[in-house]
Structure formats: C-alpha cells, structure tokens
C-alpha cells in the first residue's frame, strides 16, 4: 500500500500564513520571474476560493484580474515555503522510512512493512493524505479533497472522479488526449477506465495506455527513494568543565563510536577529522587532521586524536567538544604481488595519521623538487603510496655538497665593496656566523617569473667560507637585503 501526502497550492498557503485575514478572499501568488506590477506575470498558485472562481495557476495576472476583480495578489515567501516542506518531510519520515519526494508539495510513501495511519489529524489545514494500491493511484487520490477514511481506495472509488484531475490536464503545451475523451462524451475516470485497452492503444497512443494501466493498478512504478544527508558531526556540551586528557579522550571515544557506525552504515570511511573545542574563556581551538588513507576504525581514529590532544596546551578548561568526520569512499586497490610490500601494511595508515597529527598538515610526505630555479621550490606527495612519483622531472642539481636550508632564512648585515647589486661581500656583521669571509664563490645571479610583475623574483647567490670553517650560502636580494639561505654541512 502507498500513501500520498499533498499540500495543494503550497506557495499560496505559505504566503497566507503571514496574512491569515486574506484567507476569506480570492488570492494568488505571482511567479518570481514576474516583475512587481507586471500585468503579464503568470500566477504561481491560487488559494481555494480563487480556484472556485475559475482562476488557475499559470494564467497571466491581467487575465485573472479581469476574471475576478476581487483577486488579491501576494508575493512569494520562500522561507515559509521551506518551513512547510520541512514539515511535510518530517511527517513523511514519521510514516515510513521509504518515500519519494515527488514534488515540493507531494510525498509518495511506501507503507510496505509499516502500519497505515488509522486516523489523520493534519498539522496543516489543507494537508491531504490518501492511501491506494499503487503510488500513482495514491497520487491521484490526493488530488481530490475528501475525508480520510483510513483505508486504501479501491479502483471503483476512482470511477466517479472527473477526468480533469489527471495531471496532464493542466500541463501547458502538452498534447493531451482529454479533449478527445470529452468529444466522445466521457466525463469521469470510470468512463475512461472501462474503455477497451486495445482500442485506446490504436486511437489515443501510448500516454493514454499508460494512464489506463494506472487506473487498473497494473502500473506499479518504483519510487525514487529520498535519503536525507547523513551528518557526521557530533557536539557534546560538558556538564562540568573538562580539565584532564583522559576525560576528553573518553568522550571523544564515545563520539567516534557513533560517527564510525554511521560511516559503516553508508559504506564510507573518514578522510579527515575536524575538531573544535570551546573553552571556559569562550575561546575556540580547532584543527583539522587529514588522514593519509581513509579509516573507519574508531580505535585508529582515536589514536590519531590522542596524539593531537596530547600536544594541545589550553589556557582554560573545555566546555564543548565538536567532532566531525569527513566522509570519503573507501580505498579498494589490489596489492602489488611482485614488488616488496610493507611488512605491516595494516599499521601504516594509522602511523601516518598519527604522524600527521603530531607534525601538522603538510609536514610529512615524499619530496619532489620542482623544475625551477626558484629557491626552496618543492612539493610533498602523499606518503601513503599509490601516487606516481616523477623521477626524471628535474634536469639540474644544485651544489654537490647538499645544502642545509634555514627556514626561514636568516637576515644578516653584510660589509663589502662595490655598489648596489654588484656588492662583493667581505664580512658578515650580524647573525650567528658573524665574522670575516675567508673565501668566496660567485656571484650566481638568478631570476624568474619576470613576465609576471607580482611574482617576479631576482637574487644573487654567493657561496662563502667563514674563518670558523662554516660554508654558507649568502643571498643578495633587491633593496639591499642580505640573507643566509643555508649551510653546506
């Protein structure tokens, strides 16, 4: 059995909620695209009184005004419409888990395995509920205003209904077979239902056959089931401020159990964890940990969170904890058979997640130098493997003795001979390696991105040997700035 929830003229109902005194008058809602006062703007919906006076949705405003001079025009209220839709959705969810959101004002509910409602107390005055054997019959039944009987309508119950309730009757531009039926003198669904099927196929075509089958309950289509978006967020407000790590971990464990169960039920895994702590001082501390490989195990996720929580130094106790898991698809890849494999592949994603939590985002990976002379140009590839590593990308290499790069570079003052960019350094005046320069290699001028004024860069490198034995890379930048980029050690 199927049920249909239908709220007729939802935009008009939404507009009238804020102006209840207009309910006794014929009212119409003008479509959004119509400019205010535009006589050609079409009507989006009309209330029941306007419908009784022959006003139909889709008519132009000016025509409706001529037809019914007392017609009141209302503006659309999207917020209240959304509220009404949410009410309908909640009502549908309370009846059965499987339902289709057929339109903004219509829900078709599969009552298989659920108890059909015996009584009907609609939360909204014009809300209709109809029961029938098939979804389309239930939809048709809801088109007609009739008291709820608590039983599914039989095929015979549809016979006295007028042909005009068929949905294609109002569809503009649709090639309807209704005019032909009217020409034949047919007025009710029963008249149409009792016509021979073969003759209908020959004379009226496939659309008429479809409706004929629907009225005989032969057509039971599948519902396009509505699934609400799963939330992977949990917030806990502590009754007493939390001061110890153990309490925080205990609560996080409970939350992760719930969130991971939700992930499991949707066959997903967590690609990242985001947490936010609200402190007693009203400050908020949050961080997102990207997991190198999707995980769905609460224990593994808790170990990662444990590492992050341990490193936190908070100025006051914790009042709220918010946890969010980022749902991603699980990885499915066949292992390599011929190459060397990790001895403990199950541990590796967990370890990487904990290292990421310890070091922070972007601090662990496989380095790839960029094919550029720009200083410190590199990118980090994911450490979890599976990424194609470019092994022949870089065509040049820096000095044979690898540099130990200072991040950030050390600003120094330099004494030297010469002018401007051609200054030849002789001594470092400041910094941890201040002293006379005993040996010098250079200059090595570099520049790049000169075609883009915002990212253009220019520098002159010097390799210097200090009397202390240190070998350093000294860089002369525009505007007379000097910095130590690193040491050859």
């Amino acid at each position: 059995m199927f049920a249909c929830l239908y709220l007729p003229d939802l935009p008009a109902e939404a507009a009238l909620i804020q102006q209840p005194d207009l309910r006794a008058h014929p009212c119409a809602v003008v479509a959004d695209e119509g400019r205010p006062g535009d006589p050609k703007a079409p009507l989006l919906a009309v209330n029941s009184i306007a419908a009784q006076r022959g006003i139909r949705a889709g008519e132009s405003s000016i025509r409706a005004r001529v037809q019914c001079p007392a017609l009141r025009f209302l503006t659309r209220n999207p917020d209240v419409e959304h509220l009404l839709q949410s009410t309908l959705l909640a009502l549908a969810e309370s009846l059965a888990p499987d339902f289709e959101c057929t339109g903004a004002d219509t829900f078709l509910i599969d009552l298989a395995g659920a108890r059909p409602p015996g009584t009907w107390n609609p939360p909204l005055q014009r809300l209709r509920l109809a029961l029938a054997e098939t979804p389309d019959l239930a939809h048709l039944a809801a088109m007609v205003e009739s008291p709820f009987s608590g039983k599914a309508l039989t095929l015979a119950d549809f016979d006295p209904l007028p042909l005009e309730i068929l949905p294609m009757a109002d569809a503009p531009g649709c090639t309807s077979f209704l005019p032909v039926l009217r020409l034949w003198g047919l007025r009710t669904l029963g008249d149409f239902r009792h016509l021979p099927r073969q003759d209908i196929a020959e004379r009226l075509g496939g659309e008429a056959i479809r409706w004929h089958d629907i009225l005989h309950a032969k057509n039971r289509r599948l519902l396009r089931l509505h699934r609400s978006v799963e939330s992977y967020v949990q917030i806990v407000h502590f009754e007493f401020p939390v001061e110890s790590l153990e309490s925080l971990i205990f609560q996080a464990n409970r939350m992760l159990q719930t969130l991971c169960a939700r992930l499991e039920s949707s066959h997903r895994a967590a690609g990242g964890i985001r947490f936010e702590l609200t402190l007693e001082s009203n400050d908020r501390v949050g961080r997102k940990v990207n997991l190198p490989e999707p995980l769905a195990s609460p224990a593994a996720l808790l170990r990662t969170l444990h590492v992050v929580f341990e490193a936190l130094q908070l100025p006051s106790a914790i009042m709220d904890l918010e946890l969010e898991l980022e749902p991603v698809r699980r990885l499915a890849a066949q292992r390599e058979w011929l190459g060397r494999q990790l001895p403990q592949p199950g541990r590796w994603p967990d370890t990487l997640a904990r290292l990421e939590a310890l070091l922070g985002p972007g601090r662990i990976g496989i380095p790839q130098p960029e094919d550029s002379h720009r200083p410190d140009a590199f990118r980090l590839l994911p450490a979890s493997g599976g990424t194609t590593v470019t092994r022949a990308g870089r065509t040049f290499m820096a000095a044979p003795l690898p540099l130990r790069r200072f991040r950030p570079p050390l600003e120094v003052a330099v004494a030297g001979t010469g002018q401007g960019f051609h200054l030849r350094p002789q001594a470092l005046l400041t910094g941890p390696h201040a002293g006379l320069i005993s040996k010098l290699r250079g200059p090595f001028p570099f520049s790049g991105d000169w075609w883009n004024p915002e990212t253009a860069w220019r520098r002159v490198d010097w390799d210097i040997g200090m009397e202390s034995g240190h070998l350093l890379r000294l860089v002369h930048l525009p505007a007379g700035r000097w910095q130590l980029d690193g040491a050859y050690a």
Binding site: Q368, L380, L401, H470, G486
Partner: protein
C-alpha cells in the same frame, strides 16, 4: 688516570656478566677498527642505533644522507627510508627527483617532536631505515631528551630489526651500537667537484663499536 674503584667495579661486572657488553673499545687503538665503510651498500647494522658526530662544521653530514639515499631501491610502493628532519633543514633542491622519491620526509620543529616521530615510525616497523637528524639543535636543547627515550627507541629497533642513523652535534646517545666520528673537512674549492667524488672523500672513525647481533 683511571679511577681504581671504577676499574675494579668494571672488572667485577665483566666477570659476573661476561656476555653483557662485547667489543667496547675504550682505547684509541681499538677505536680505529676498519670494519666500517660508508661506501658499502648497507653499512649500517640492523637492530641498533648508529650515531654520527661531525668534528667540523663542514664535515659533509648531508653527504651521508645523500649516500644512504643513493643506495636505496627506487622500486617500492612506499619509500624504505625515512628522514626525520629535526629542524626542517632538508633541501629537496639539492637532490635529484629520483633520489627524493626514495625518501619519506618528516619535517619537525623541536627535538621533542623529532623523538616522538622517531618513536612512532620505529614502533610501526614498516620502514627498515630511519635517519634522525638532530644536528641543528644546540646541546642544551638536546640535553632535555631523557636517556630513557633512547632506550625505548633502541628496544623498538631491536624488535623490528630496523636501523636508526642519528646525526648529532655531539656524542649523545647512551645506547648507540656504533658511534662514528665524521672527520672529513670540506672547503669552498671542493664545491666544484662532483657529488660521488665528495662522498669518496668522507672519512669516518668509529669511536664506539659494540657487537651487534645481526
């Protein structure tokens, strides 16, 4: 002049636990044992900590890392070598893309982070070789690392039969299996040589060799 009480105590301990410590080389002649060569494909013993201490600011400590990277296999799904970079000083631009692809780089900021990262990665046991670079830290910063941390790391290494190569500014690790003194001294003129030539010139002196159980 050795302390006679200490010498007597050592003698008693040696008699009571004859297999506890083998090959401890307190004398300079014993220290210069020639059974360690950095140019070997896998010179660092499994199941123990190798500590490398440079004697000069430009002793070529980065060349040791380059030498290890050069011997790594490139055909693995995940790099087999991890570099725990204590103060984030590794420069990918100083290496080829192929060498970099053999390396898992962990960019730390403090000695505590570096030790915790080493502990995590060694307990994981998936990577056979780990380089822990603590060279950029001062003695006072490194002095805050408790000795128990090193023993804990040593236990993880023995359990997983992996190897840890620690680069330190001074002798630091109490339970190191091998301590090497890197005595080479590179000058500015040598920056025009090739990297293999510089690696050939690396000089290591073992100052501490314990018998390793391979």
């Amino acid at each position: 002049m050795p302390n006679p009480t200490l010498a007597k105590l050592q003698q008693q301990l040696r008699e009571k636990f004859p297999t506890a410590r083998h090959g401890l080389s307190p004398t300079a002649s014993d220290a210069r044992r020639p059974d360690f060569d950095l140019r070997n494909p896998d010179p660092f013993p499994r199941g123990g900590i190798t500590e490398i201490v440079p004697t000069h600011p430009a002793a070529g400590l980065s060349l040791v890392v380059a030498s290890i990277m050069a011997h790594e296999s490139a055909h693995t799904p995940v790099p087999e070598l991890a570099l725990i970079d204590g103060r984030d000083q590794f420069d990918p631009a100083s290496f080829s893309a192929e060498d970099c692809s053999k390396l898992l780089w962990l960019r730390c900021q403090t000695p505590e982070q570096a030790i915790r990262a080493a502990d995590l990665i060694l307990r994981d046991g998936n990577l056979p070789r780990v380089v822990l670079d603590l060279f950029a830290f001062s003695s006072s910063e490194l002095g805050k690392i408790p000795n128990s941390s090193w023993h804990r790391i040593k236990q993880s290494i023995e359990l997983n039969n992996s190897s840890l190569i620690a680069l330190t500014p001074r002798a630091l690790i109490p339970c190191a299996l091998i301590r090497l003194s890197l005595s080479s001294h590179f000058a500015l003129d040598q920056l025009s040589s090739t990297r293999p030539e510089l690696i050939e010139q690396l000089q290591t002196i073992p100052v501490l060799l314990r018998k390793c159980a391979q």
